[in-house]
């Protein structure tokens, strides 16, 4: 499917967000403008404090911008949240320890009022999607960290929203598990054709996954560079040794360095 460039799914224009804290105002986002189109895989990368998570939370309607405009599916983020327009994956899996994996995944479905039969069928299909079939009756503590995070992705996918927002979902996992999950995530993205917003600290992860890489810099949080990836949509893991991959990674690193330069 060719990305549709006419009508962005998420559109931010001159977005501004200032937090009022006890130590005075903190300028978390400044003049952030960005279009995300249907089927894009957009990574946000930058040092801590650059506002990448804050921007993702703004899209989710969990934070409220103090200036500029932001639309999600043509609605305000608040309306989009109420319309359950996206699934959100946090850094920690955050599964309920008192629910089995299957019942954790059906949690959003229960809240949204899906029928029991529909719940069961959807849980089965997303478990299959994250390769956890057969683990539905296990409790979270019986699963490894990587499996728990996959279960939390399944939970975000269960109600089939078109947008998937992921806030450093693999940040707490080791490199080997991470590689594996990155590969799976790409396969999942190809199968579901979702629009994904992905926050990360890792340059290789951002380059490997994304069609668009947003490099951000801190104080105030702003966009330093937006890189449209020239890599093909089908990406085996060894694409990371290609010249193209290394060039893009280099450009990301340059962007991060530039952001830090005027900071020092």
């Amino acid at each position: 499917m060719a990305p549709d460039t006419s009508n962005p799914v998420i559109k931010a224009e001159a977005l501004d967000l200032t937090f009022q804290t006890n130590d005075g105002p903190v300028h978390a986002l400044k003049d952030v403008s960005l279009d995300i189109h249907k089927g894009d895989f957009v990574s946000f990368i930058g040092p801590s404090g650059c506002g990448k998570t804050t921007f993702l939370r703004c899209i989710a309607g969990l934070e409220h911008p103090t200036g500029g405009s932001l639309s999600v599916n043509g609605m305000t983020p608040e309306a989009a949240r109420q319309a359950r327009a996206y699934g959100y994956v946090f850094q920690a899996a955050g599964l309920y320890p008192w629910r089995t994996i299957a019942r954790n995944i059906s949690l959003p479905l229960e809240i949204m009022g899906y029928s029991k039969a529909d719940q069961k069928q959807r849980v089965e299909s997303v478990l299959d999607l994250v390769e956890l079939s057969g683990f539905g009756s296990k409790f979270p503590w019986q699963l490894s960290g990587g499996m728990q995070q996959r279960a939390s992705i399944a939970r975000a996918l269960s109600f089939d929203a078109d947008i998937l927002l992921m806030d450093e979902p693999f940040g707490a996992l080791d490199e080997i598990v991470r590689d594996h999950l990155n590969e799976q995530l790409l396969a999942l993205w190809a199968r579901t054709e979702k629009t994904i917003g992905f926050v990360t600290h890792s340059i290789p992860e951002a380059v490997y996954l994304s069609t668009k890489i947003v490099v951000m810099s801190p104080r105030p949080g702003r966009i330093a560079d937006v890189i449209e990836s020239s890599l093909p949509r089908q990406r085996p893991l060894d694409i990371r040794d290609s010249k193209e991959f290394i060039d893009i990674a280099h450009r990301v690193r340059e962007g991060l360095r530039a952001g830090h330069a005027d900071d020092a």
């Binding site: 989710a60 309607g61 969990l62 949240r81 109420q82 359950r84 996206y86 699934g87 959100y88 946090f90 850094q91 920690a92 955050g94 309920y96 320890p97 008192w98 629910r99 089995t100 949690l107 959003p108 229960e110 809240i111 949204m112 409790f139 979270p140 503590w141 109600f159």
Partner: protein
């Protein structure tokens, strides 16, 4: 089973210490009795004995040591006296007899359970209110804390009198006192438990556009269960203290009443056996809650 040996060791040590303490505690009265019975005691004059230390008396009259263990009205009864009184007043007497500790234990237990149920219900309701309403958080919590600073022994007779004047007596006033003591740990534990989900968990529900009700039933309430059970164990013990205190000013029987009449008539053995009956009952209640806790948390996958 490995826990049995340390527990038995501690019990044996306590019993041994207790026996050691019984001798000097009871020596004066024992010597007076023995003297009346015609025995030779040192010093022979009651006047001189009064001014002597207990241990010195034991040292001079070691022959009397065994007699101190079988006094009718000892200052400190020996463990075997308490044990035999406990046996006597639970097994040997009819259950309906007013001298049977099972009869009195049942009276205390029923007030404890009713008070515990009221206290727990009230505690949970208050905690739910406190967690969901800022006004209640600011207004109820300070009063709940103040309520526990008033000595219950001062408050209990007033509660009994006030309730009597509106026609309530017997079980209910005792249950009220018992509930008064037991609601507090439940409030504190439940507030902590209902607030235990972190910001991420709350944000997650927000992304589903869940309402407050769903957040309560699906997240806050299950997350609070371990806290609730910890509180219930404290609350049930407090409820029993409340029931016993509530029995002191009234003549309706119960372990508290048994202790009070024992002290009126100098029946130390009766006081101590009522005390032990109360301790055994409280331990049983706490153990029962532990059992329910283990079962519930296990079924929830939380232990």
């Amino acid at each position: 089973m490995r826990a049995v040996i340390p527990v038995l060791t501690v019990i044996a040590a306590i019993v041994a210490l207790w026996y050691v303490a019984v001798v000097p505690m009871n020596i004066k009265e024992t010597l007076t009795q023995l003297e009346r019975g015609g025995a030779e005691v040192t010093p022979p004059s009651a006047q001189d004995r009064r001014d002597m230390g207990h241990i010195a008396l034991v040292a001079k009259n070691s022959f009397a040591a065994s007699a101190t263990l079988s006094q009718d009205r000892p200052r400190l009864p020996a463990p075997h006296q308490v044990a035999s009184e406990l046996w006597d007043s639970t097994v040997d007497k009819k259950v309906t007899s007013k001298r049977n500790l099972v009869y009195h234990g049942w009276i205390t237990l029923s007030a404890t359970l009713l008070g515990f149920a009221i206290g727990t219900g009230l505690g949970i309701l208050l905690a739910v209110g406190i967690v969901h309403s800022r006004v209640m958080d600011k207004s109820v919590m300070p009063w709940a804390i103040v309520s526990q600073t008033i000595p219950i022994i001062a408050l209990a007779p007033m509660i009994v009198v006030v309730l009597y004047s509106v026609g309530l007596q017997g079980l209910f006033p005792k249950a009220v006192i018992s509930a008064y003591l037991s609601f507090f740990p439940v409030v504190v534990g439940m507030v902590k438990g209902l607030r235990s989900p972190d910001q991420m968990q709350l944000d997650l529900l927000k992304t589903y556009n869940a309402n407050t009700n769903q957040g309560f039933w699906k997240l806050r309430l299950p997350a609070s269960m371990p806290y609730l059970f910890a509180s219930l164990k404290i609350a049930v013990a407090a409820a029993m203290v409340g029931a016993i205190v509530g029995e002191l000013p009234v003549q309706g029987g119960g372990l508290g009443n048994r202790m009070l009449t024992g002290s009126y008539y100098g029946q130390t053995i009766q006081i101590w056996s009522a005390l032990f009956a109360a301790a055994i009952l409280a331990a049983t209640l706490v153990a029962a809650i532990s059992l329910i806790q283990r079962g519930t948390l296990k079924r929830m996958g939380l232990s």
